[in-house]
């Protein structure tokens, strides 16, 4: 229809080139941070004997989700170790934890701010829609452009993909705090921050925890995909299985991902429930 092609690809490429060259220091610092986090998580977990880590995880699971899930965790983790995927398991867990930590640091304040400011909420909503509906693979490209191949772009892509649900649910949870509870705090002469920390956030906690749960689940799915740009971990084994048509190997890695997903899901779901019932 138009006699020329709208050069979106050129614009984006130019912009990325510009950012990478002009803000190299920023990207380097961010990379350093991500490496620091991932390495520490990984080294910390690898430092422990697999059995010790299994006991730690089982203990957390027992507290948060009951003995059935804890038993499942013990069996599942021992299986992972048995089939030789222990290191991959720890690497993936470190990636997920790092990404989730970043998501919480950024997502919680943004969610709270969105709940308290309608204008910001109306701006951020389409951005979140965009982030969630964009195919997950697409994030890999700019991530690679900014950070090259490897672990950092994997974490970045995971972060972008896992951020929206936490912002959304934090916003929702705080907006759903009954009006009377806020009025009650006001009537007692509460300040803005007293209202936020003593009423709104605690009351919204189950919903916020649901957001944490969702973002961890999304993050885990993305971490596997991020193996395509060299993030490592279980995704790498899945990918290798696909590339070499080794169904069995791919299945094993996939199984371990599922085990991790179930454990993480039950732990974080337990967090939300515990808040709302006790």
């Amino acid at each position: 229809m138009l006699p020329f092609r709208i050069p979106i690809r050129d614009w984006i490429s130019t912009a990325v080139d510009y950012l990478v060259s002009e803000y190299a220091a920023v990207f380097d610092a961010f990379s350093a941070l991500v490496y620091f986090l991932v390495d520490n998580f990984k080294d910390g977990m690898m430092y422990l004997h697999p059995l010790a880590l299994i006991i730690v995880i089982a203990a957390i699971t027992l507290k948060m989700a009951g003995w059935r899930v804890a038993l499942f965790a013990v069996l599942g983790l021992m299986l992972s170790e048995n089939i030789g995927l222990w290191r991959a398991f720890v690497e993936t867990l470190a990636l997920v934890l790092t990404a989730e930590l970043l998501v919480m640091v950024v997502g919680l304040p943004l969610g709270v701010f969105a709940a308290r400011n309608d204008r910001f909420h109306s701006i951020i909503r389409p951005v979140l829609d965009f982030m969630q509906t964009m195919p997950a693979f697409v994030y890999l490209i700019p991530a690679v452009m900014f950070f090259g191949l490897g672990l950092v772009p994997g974490v970045v892509a995971t972060f972008v993909f896992a951020l929206p649900p936490l912002i959304r649910l934090t916003n929702l949870g705080i907006r759903q705090v009954p009006k009377e509870l806020v009025e009650a705090a006001d009537a007692f002469g509460a300040t803005g921050s007293q209202k936020l920390f003593k009423v709104q956030i605690p009351v919204a906690m189950p919903t916020i925890m649901a957001g944490v749960n969702q973002s961890i689940m999304l993050g885990l799915s993305m971490v596997v995909i991020a193996a395509m740009i060299g993030a490592g971990g279980l995704g790498e084994d899945v990918l290798r299985g696909i590339q070499r048509l080794q169904v069995g190997q791919g299945f094993e890695a996939g199984l371990v991902v599922v085990i991790m997903a179930i454990i993480l899901d039950r732990i974080t779901a337990g967090l939300g429930e515990q808040r709302s019932t006790t």
């Binding site: 006001d186 009537a187 007692f188 300040t191 003593k198 709302s276």
Partner: protein, 442 residues
């Protein structure tokens, strides 16, 4: 008692053109027309009233009448559009946010809500100490105080329970305790008991009155329930379309409804719960004194054709009741005796009620009575008047408003007693003429 809250010319308009709406209101346009024409919602208009220290002031009205809006204006949860709200000499409309917060902490016991609005993530203790915590009171002190209040509202033993473990009535006690724990005078209650089932509600009302007699807070109570309003309120303001249509005590409102709107409300009302012994009593026409001899007393009885007579001392303290027939027999038996003394066994215990006792309780006492009228006494046990059956029936029947003010008029009281005359002879106790005040030695 002095005024603690004074509200003058208060308006609240919801919308973007409040000035236009207020101007239209002052020109006499109705709330509905303003909504239609200017798209502005009138919350409350032209509100003027004062609340006295230590009273329970009830704002009564149907939903949409502006009662909750008015209450939220008093602590500025809603910003007033215009007008003054003077609380303890400070016009709170003029305060900035910081001063307002401090003012609320110092003067308001927070608010008690229909759906309790207690914090689900905190224990009972954590909820009750909430107000003090906001004020920065240190942990030990505030918990000690909270525990004391928890005992006071009857929640002892539930300190560590979470709200979800409590019944509705108990949850509302937590809401109430949270307010009372704060060292302030004004307690706002918004439909506080409306979500409770009728029995619990009644119980909570009683408990509130009982607590109030000890704590002497100033309570601004919002309700849509007239029975509740009349039960709790020292004074009541009835609201409609954002206006106060009538303000006064329960008895004033029920006996003189300001307009048809109030009248329709009051018609459904259980009058016996509102009217008190004091309102329906008749003046005492004749009484005997402790020093009177039997023949003097008999003469007094016969002069008015009574079936009995109340006995008081010279300071009107009620002493008992003498039945005419028994006295006459006694005098007859001792015909010859010159200096006949009164036989103390003839003076029976007189049934008496406090002047503030609601009529429905008076009726219960009347039903148990074997003899005599019911004497009405004041707080010092001094005789103030008598209640006869006819007066009770008249008070409960329609058209009572007219009669109430003329109860001393002779013909009316005799007429109203007419239908039940035969059932109880003692009703003739209050004859139309004569008055005790004209007695010598009074």
């Amino acid at each position: 008692m002095s005024d603690i809250i004074t509200v003058r010319n208060l308006y609240k308009i919801f919308g973007d053109k409040p000035k236009v709406a207020i101007k239209a209101l002052k020109e006499g346009m109705s709330k509905d027309d303003i909504l239609r024409k200017h798209k502005q919602i009138v919350g409350v208009q032209d509100i003027n009233f004062s609340v006295q220290e230590g009273e329970i002031f009830v704002l009564m009205g149907l939903s949409g009448s502006g009662k909750s809006t008015l209450q939220r204006l008093i602590n500025r949860l809603h910003e007033p559009t215009s007008g003054e709200i003077v609380i303890k000499g400070t016009d709170i409309v003029k305060l900035n946010m910081k001063d307002l917060r401090e003012f609320r902490q110092k003067n308001f016991c927070g608010m008690v809500f229909q759906n309790f609005a207690i914090l689900p993530h905190r224990t009972v203790l954590g909820n009750v100490e909430f107000g003090l915590e906001l004020q920065g009171v240190d942990k030990e002190e505030r918990q000690e105080k909270a525990r004391k209040i928890i005992r006071l509202v009857g929640l002892e033993g539930n300190e560590e329970n979470y709200p979800s473990q409590l019944s509705g009535g108990m949850q509302q006690r937590v809401g109430l305790a949270r307010g009372l724990a704060v060292d302030a005078d004004i307690l706002l209650m918004d439909e506080a008991f409306s979500a409770l089932d009728p029995l619990i509600r009644r119980q909570m009302q009683d408990e509130l009155l009982e607590l109030q007699s000890r704590m002497k807070k100033t309570i601004l109570f919002v309700t849509h329930d007239l029975d509740e309003a009349f039960r709790l309120g020292d004074r009541i303001a009835i609201m409609k379309d954002g206006l106060i249509v009538q303000m006064g005590t329960a008895e004033e409102i029920i006996s003189k409804p300001a307009d048809d709107y109030v009248k329709t409300f009051v018609e459904d009302m259980d009058r016996s719960a509102v009217l008190t012994a004091g309102t329906i009593m008749l003046p005492v026409k004749e009484r005997a004194f402790t020093g009177d001899g039997p023949r003097t007393i008999l003469r007094k009885i016969r002069r008015f054709g009574l079936s009995g007579i109340l006995v008081t001392d010279s300071k009107r303290h009620l002493q008992g009741y003498i039945i005419a027939k028994e006295l006459a027999e006694y005098v007859e038996k001792n015909k010859g005796k010159e200096d006949l003394k009164m036989d103390p066994s003839l003076v029976r215990e007189a049934l008496h009620v406090d002047r503030d006792m609601p009529l429905n309780e008076v009726i219960n006492i009347y039903q148990e009575a074997d003899y005599g009228p019911i004497a009405v006494v004041d707080a010092g046990q001094r005789l103030e008047g008598v209640i006869v059956r006819g007066a009770i029936i008249a008070a409960l029947s329609e058209g009572y408003e007219v009669e109430l003010n003329d109860s001393s008029e002779p013909t009316e009281s005799t007429e109203s007693r007419g239908p039940s005359e035969s059932s109880k002879s003692s009703e003739s106790h209050a004859p139309p003429d004569a008055s005790a005040s004209s007695r010598p030695g009074d």
